[in-house]
């Protein structure tokens, strides 16, 4: 599974402070630790308390790319810092995210194309968060079609079926699983899929247990990437083990240590 590291996010207190104090060493260390733990992509989000989203985004990107060379994902709801972040990246880029709304697709698909970025597409539209499998698949199909129109390869698309906290909508995970299976049939090759894992346990008890159980269940339905905390060791072990159970790599007695050393 492709791991997108979520820790460089201004919503976390220490990151917020590092951004405010321009503590680059803290950010660099966090980037290195996530990559060493197995992150394939690093998500970068300035958080809501930032006083200058664009400047802070550029600062974060520069700090991170000075120490790691993985794909960087720019995570912002505002188009100016989003574009500035993408422009500042020297290596591979990801745009986090667009929805299925016309106004978003019209602006953000061309932006992804312009910066040769892969793009996360949330299955939300003008009517809001979908409650059914069909609605999710419909929005996903719209995003896939839009990407194809723009000449964005389908393999650069990451469709997100929207994860809500489990206490909000306990009937939704089942719908997500069905949607994940169906996303794989939208095209050949199929788009990637992703989720913002921490959403499932936001403000609830047993975060880590909830997160890793839900993630493994999604992987069984074909989820091939996720925005997660790679520093959660039990979570990463579950990811590696689930990949092995899905026959992504051959079992050996030392499969866990071997995976850890590979990264």
């Amino acid at each position: 599974m492709i791991v997108i590291g979520e820790r460089i996010n201004g919503m976390f207190k220490k990151v917020r402070e590092a951004i405010a104090n321009k503590d680059a060493e803290f950010i660099k260390d966090l980037a290195i630790r996530q990559v060493n733990a197995g992150a394939n992509i690093l998500d970068i989000n300035v958080g809501t308390a930032s006083t200058d989203h664009t400047a802070d985004m550029i600062w974060l990107v520069n700090a991170v790319q000075s120490v790691v060379s993985v794909t960087l994902s720019i995570d912002s709801a505002r188009h100016e810092p989003l574009e500035a972040g993408l422009a500042a990246i020297k290596g591979k880029r990801m745009l986090n995210s667009t929805t299925g709304k016309e106004v978003d697709l019209a602006k953000l698909l061309p932006m992804a194309k312009k910066y040769n970025a892969s793009i996360i597409g949330l299955t939300i539209d003008e009517e809001g968060v979908p409650a059914t499998v069909d609605k999710r698949v419909e929005i996903a199909a719209k995003i896939v079609a839009g990407a194809m129109d723009q000449g964005i390869p389908v393999t650069d698309l990451y469709i997100d079926p929207i994860t809500l906290p489990i206490n909000c909508a306990q009937d939704q995970p089942e719908k997500m699983f069905a949607a994940l299976s169906q996303f794989r049939m939208l095209s050949d090759p199929a788009p990637h899929t992703t989720i913002g894992l921490s959403n499932i346990s936001q403000r609830l008890q047993e975060h880590q247990l909830l997160n890793r159980t839900f993630l493994v269940m999604c992987m069984a339905y074909g989820l091939d990437s996720a925005i997660i905390d790679p520093l959660d060791e039990e979570l990463m072990k579950a990811v590696v083990t689930a990949d092995m159970i899905l026959n992504k790599f051959i079992y050996a007695d030392s499969f866990l240590e071997s995976y850890r050393r590979k990264v």
Binding site: F249, I250, Y251, A252, D253, S254, E257, S258, K262
Partner: protein, 324 residues
């Protein structure tokens, strides 16, 4: 009508392993033999890079047991049966082996229990008599191998030989010797891909670079497990091409010894007259095992009969010939 592109593109590759060191590299071989390096499945040159395997001839350090070497097999070596040095020379010069594989049978407790010093004497004499790279295979008795192989390894330091066998339960001694003396290592597993991978992990964990490991997943001859060997080699190769670095090693196939164990290869014409010529039978049993395993991705084929080796080489030429 547009024919869809069918070429696969793999993210992984098989490691290159170099066996044998020239004088420029601190050894005394005329040249090194390279095995591995493929970026696709065997022989699909239109899809990626594939490289030819090497053929090694077996040189036992004891006169062969007639029960194991029938007349048809003894014939090409009749004048050198009691002289491993002359045998090795014949294998290199007359039969064109790319490498010599010395079997240290004499050190086995049941076959004479020869001393390390005696075994070393034979090995060094062979080293001086031939110019091709050397494979040294112990007697498969762990305590004796652990006692003798380090001595041989040290004596051949700098020659970049290939030493076997290291297994899941007995690898530390051989790995230490290969590390100290610059050799590569054969990792043995019992027709089990998970153990094959584990052996590679254990050996790598001790610090031996991945490109100094060759896998020996155990060979079954035609009629005696060849398909199982084939499917394990195929699975390992596909995993390596998909990026699994702990299966990206070249593969050693013990074609000669296994084929000639078969009743169909060994039986005298008087026992089974309906089976026809004993000589042809034996040679073909070995040749067919070899050619099947070529297609499974064999990188080093340990052969016995020079005619079987010739047939395998001819098949290899056919499989790699440029389009007419």
């Amino acid at each position: 009508m547009n024919i869809p592109e069918v070429k696969e593109s793999y993210g992984g590759r098989i490691n290159n392993v170099f066996i044998g060191a020239t004088s420029a590299e601190g050894g005394s071989r005329s040249k090194a033999v390279k095995v591995g390096g493929h970026t696709t499945v065997p022989f699909l040159k239109y899809e990626g890079e594939t490289f030819p395997p090497a053929f090694a001839l077996e040189v036992p350090d004891l006169p062969p047991d007639p029960g194991e070497w029938p007349d048809a097999l003894v014939e090409p070596y009749r004048d050198v049966l009691n002289d491993p040095v002359a045998w090795a020379k014949k294998a290199e010069q007359e039969y064109g082996a790319d490498m010599i594989c010395i079997r240290l049978l004499s050190i086995h407790p049941d076959r004479g229990n020869a001393s390390a010093a005696k075994a070393k004497e034979t090995v060094l004499a062979i080293r001086d008599a031939v110019k091709v790279p050397l494979i040294i295979w112990g007697c498969d008795d762990d305590p004796r191998d652990n006692e003798v192989l380090p001595v041989i390894s040290q004596a051949l330091a700098g020659e970049k030989c290939l030493f076997g066998m290291a297994s899941q339960d007995n690898y530390k001694t051989l790995v230490a010797s290969c590390l100290a003396d610059g050799h590569s290592l054969l990792g043995l597993s019992p027709l089990d891909i998970n153990i094959a991978k584990q052996v590679n992990i254990l050996v790598s964990d001790m610090g031996l670079p991945a490109d100094r490991i060759v896998m020996y997943p155990t060979t079954g001859a035609l009629g005696y497990g060849m398909e199982y060997t084939y499917s394990i080699m195929e699975r390992g190769r596909l995993a390596a091409l998909a990026g699994d670095k702990m299966l990206a090693m070249p593969v050693f196939c013990v074609v000669g010894p296994e084929s000639w164990k078969a009743k169909e290869a060994k039986a005298a014409e008087t026992e089974f007259p309906q089976w026809g010529s004993a000589t042809e039978r034996g040679i073909l049993w070995e040749a067919v095992t070899a050619t099947a395993l070529l297609q499974a991705g064999a990188d080093i084929l340990l052969m016995r009969h020079p005619k079987a080796m010739e047939i395998a080489r001819a098949t290899l030429r056919d499989l790699t010939a440029a389009k007419a």
